[in-house]
Amino acid sequence: EPEVTQTPSHQVTQMGQEVILRCVPISNHLYFYWYRQILGQKVEFLVSFYNNEISEKSEIFDDQFSVERPDGSNFTLKIRSTKLEDSAMYFCASSERRQPWGGYTFGSGTRLTVV
C-alpha cells in the first residue's frame, strides 16, 4: 500500500538552529500538508500546499516556517530559527482529492526536539 515517507524519524537540534524536515508524499497525490502534535496535545494544522503554492496556513505557521516542493517527489518543511516550543511531532500528509471530501494519508512523523 502506498505510503508517505518522512525523514528523519527523530531530530535533535539546538535552539536557534535551522532544521529541514523531509517528506515524500504518495506519488499521484496533488495536495500536501504539514501538521504537528505537541506531546499530549491535539494534532494541529500548519499548512496546506497545492500547485506549488501555499493554499492555507495557520497562526502557528509564522515567518520562521516555510515549505517547498523542490522536485517532483519531495515536500519539505523548514524552520529557520528553532525555539524550545517548536519541539513536537511533525506529520506530513497528502491527499488525492481536495479536502474535505476524502481523507489524508499521514506519514509516521518526525520527532523534533529543540534543546
Binding site: 508517505v4 495536495y31 500538508y33 501538521y35 496535545q41 491535539k42 494534532v43 494541529e44 494544522f45 499548512v47 496546506s48 497545492y50 493554499s55 492555507e56 495557520s58 511531532m89 506529520f91 500528509a93 481536495r98 479536502q99 474535505p100 471530501w101 476524502g102 481523507g103 489524508y104 494519508t105 499521514f106 506519514g107 509516521s108 512523523g109 520527532r111
Partner: protein, 112 residues
C-alpha cells in the same frame, strides 16, 4: 474556530464488549473523518463521512454522522485487543478546505 470535543477521554473495556466514542461540535462540518493513532505513529484514516445521517460500517466498526453534521459517533462491536489505540475525529469544511480540525482523541484500551 470550530472545536471538536471527544468523549470519553479514556475507555477501558474487556475483550468482547461493545463501546461507543463520541465527537461533538457546535459547528457544522462538511465532512468528519475518523483516524486511529498508535504511539509514535501518524494517524491512520478509518473513514470519512460527508452526508448528514450517514452510517458507514468497517467490519466491527460503525460510524455515524449526525443529521445536522455537527456530531459523529464510532461504535465498536465485540472489541478485541487489536482495537486498542487513540481514536481521533477530525472535521473539515469547504470554507477552509486544506485544514482539518482535530479532536483531542479517545484512548481505548481493550484487555483480553
Amino acid at each position: 474556530t470550530q472545536l471538536l470535543k471527544q468523549s470519553p477521554q479514556f475507555l477501558s473495556i474487556q475483550e468482547g464488549e461493545n463501546l461507543t466514542v463520541y465527537c461533538n461540535s457546535s459547528s457544522v462540518f462538511s465532512s468528519l473523518q475518523w483516524y486511529r493513532q498508535e504511539p509514535g505513529e501518524g494517524p491512520v484514516l478509518l473513514v470519512t463521512v460527508v452526508t448528514g445521517g450517514e452510517v458507514k460500517k468497517l467490519k466491527r466498526l460503525t460510524f455515524q454522522f449526525g443529521d445536522a453534521r455537527k456530531d459523529s459517533s464510532l461504535h465498536i462491536t465485540a472489541a478485541q485487543p487489536g482495537d486498542t489505540g487513540l481514536y481521533l475525529c477530525a472535521g473539515g469544511s469547504t470554507d477552509s478546505w486544506g485544514k482539518l480540525q482535530f479532536g483531542a482523541g479517545t484512548q481505548v484500551v481493550v484487555t483480553p
